[in-house]
Amino acid sequence: MEGGGASTVASTPLVEIDDLHVSFVQHDGLVQAVRGVTFHVDAGESLGIVGESGSGKSVSCMAVLRLLQSPPARIEARTLQIGGVPVMRADKAQLSDIRGRLAAMVFQDPMTAFDPVFTIGQQIVETIRAHRSASKAAARQEAQDLLARVEIRNPDAVLNSYPHQLSGGMLQRAMIAMALSCRPAVLFADEPTTALDVTVQAQILQLIKELQGDLRMGLVMITHDLGVIAETVDRVIVMYGGKVMEQARVEDIFDDPRHPYTIALMESMPGQEGGRRRLREIPGGSPNPVSPPAGCPFHPRCPQADAQCASEEPAFAEIGPGRHAACWRVH
């Protein structure tokens, strides 16, 4: 698994999700969070998943690490594998392999992501020793090197700090160091900068990008922010209402968005032009996950929708080289 890359042949992707469905049993009904999502991540590749809350972007990735408690989660998929390990049928040893060695995850709010009663050092050392037999001293030295690797200037002091003693930016660096401690083949970053200040966000994004290149590691950047996507990834999938709307190289998405949802999302971004102005807004709100609309999930808000969109679900079809979209208007 060293650095992902070379060992994996292009034909078998590092992460493969085919027709993933995730729903949650709740008292008010069955919440259909993910409704037939298909995507893959190649070794060393960076993929951005952009979507709003409720789009299913985080849930899809948590399914890969089997982080969804079942019940209440119900998970079905034609294929769900990472590094050749079938996620749904993984035994204890394989599960421990998936979590930490094959894949690691960085979460949104670094302030609540560490156990408050242990030092940062103890928590990184614990991660290293859960996957490899290393002496405490050796693991600690490694933890210190990792903190230096994520550009923490006084790694020794940070190792001995408790989470509440550090700033959000510092904690997110430590979280990334911890995620890297077992050299994962792919890093899932779930809104890693949403809780951070603007300037800290830029630093963390740059750090993740650099590390991804240096370690030739796969990266899945999950975000609601098209700016974060534009800054960090090679390829993008756009999710809405538990489905994938569009998939393309990052340049293509920004140069020439095809799906009406992607277009609307781009146009509604504030601050693109100077001067106080009204923005292009997307009318309405997100679909209800308990009773999602028939046909295309975006059709109730879509300016181009017609009767077909409301009744028949568009297939996720190739619309150009390396580009896919699920929309009757662009097929």
């Binding site: 982080l67 599960l95 979590r99 995850m105 992501a113 003693q165 550090l166």
Partner: protein, 310 residues
């Protein structure tokens, strides 16, 4: 640290003085005196001689100051109801059964409750969870004398396995200990369950899973430790509260403990014993809370180290 403890000890002393004044005043403001016996009145002369002998003819503040001066030298006087010994001797004698039974009750009940709470939290909506909530609800709502009666009825009367009352051999202890254990067990079962569930829902638990730690390690190293911090702090006050004897339990099982004296000393206006009991309880609770606070701060990095370094 020493500064903090000194400040807290001063506040214990202040509390001690305030409580002593209040109890002293309350005690003396209740009509009647120790030598007023309705059914067998003492001749006035005798009563006055007794009052003078115990200093009860002096103004209240003189009595109070005299008393406190003596207390500072650990002289709590002689209990009126048992003049053959000092108050300290009486307390030392009567406290042993209460300490043994109540103390063991907490020492056994609290860990049992904790285990039950953990099991309930880990197996939500299983029979264990329902058992825990039944135990917690019953333990906290059924009065301890009802529990005691039930225990006697079942184990002493029906099955005849254990003696119903007395203070002879350790077999006598089992039922009262069980009666005492119900409340700490219920309290701990309830709080441990909710604290565990609370912690299990914290985002850092998801991170621990994503790191690939085993579920056992997550539960016992992280979740339990976070949940236990508040639980540790209620232990000492609970211990003090139970190990000073319950009048109900001791009456039920006819244990010659401290509990009964709380009532008899008030009823018979046994001022020295009553004061000693109240002051003892006050000091023990103050110290229990002080120690709990220190332990809490020591266990909780946020308090131990203060806010961010930089």
């Amino acid at each position: 640290m020493t500064g903090y403890i000194l400040r807290r000890l001063v506040s214990v002393a202040v509390t001690f003085i305030i409580v002593s004044v209040i109890i002293f005043l309350m005690m003396h403001s209740i009509p009647g005196g120790p030598f007023d016996h309705g059914d067998m009145p003492l001749p006035d002369a005798v009563r006055e001689r007794l009052m003078a002998q115990y200093g009860l003819d002096q103004p209240l503040y003189v009595q109070y100051l005299r008393y406190m001066w003596a207390v500072l030298q650990l002289d709590f006087g002689v209990p009126f109801q048992s003049p053959g010994e000092t108050v300290l001797e009486l307390l030392g004698r009567a406290w042993v059964p209460s300490l043994v039974l109540g103390g063991l009750g907490v020492l056994i009940g609290a860990p049992l409750g904790m285990l039950l709470g953990i099991a309930a939290a880990l197996r939500r909506n299983s029979w264990l969870d329902y058992l825990a909530s039944v135990v917690a609800t019953l333990g906290l709502t059924v009065p301890v004398f009802v529990t005691s009666m039930l225990l006697i009825l079942v184990f002493a009367v029906w099955f005849n396995w254990l003696p119903a009352s007395g203070w002879g051999s350790p077999t006598h202890w089992i039922l009262p200990i069980a009666a005492y254990a119900t409340i700490p067990m219920a309290t701990y079962a309830r709080y441990t369950r909710s604290a565990m569930l609370d912690t299990l829902n914290k985002p850092f638990v998801m991170v621990l899973r994503a790191k690939g730690l085993s579920e056992n390690r997550i539960i016992f190293q992280h979740v339990l430790r976070n949940s236990a911090i508040p639980m540790v702090t209620v232990f000492l006050p609970m211990f003090i509260g139970t190990a000073t004897g319950s009048i109900f339990v001791e009456a039920m099982f006819r244990v010659p403990g401290l509990g009964a004296y709380f009532v008899t000393s008030i009823r018979t206006r046994d001022y020295p014993l009553e004061m000693a009991l109240m002051l003892m309880i006050t000091v023990m609770f103050c110290l229990a809370y002080l120690i709990s606070d220190i332990v809490y701060a020591w266990l909780n990095p946020r308090l131990r180290h203060g806010e961010r370094k930089g």
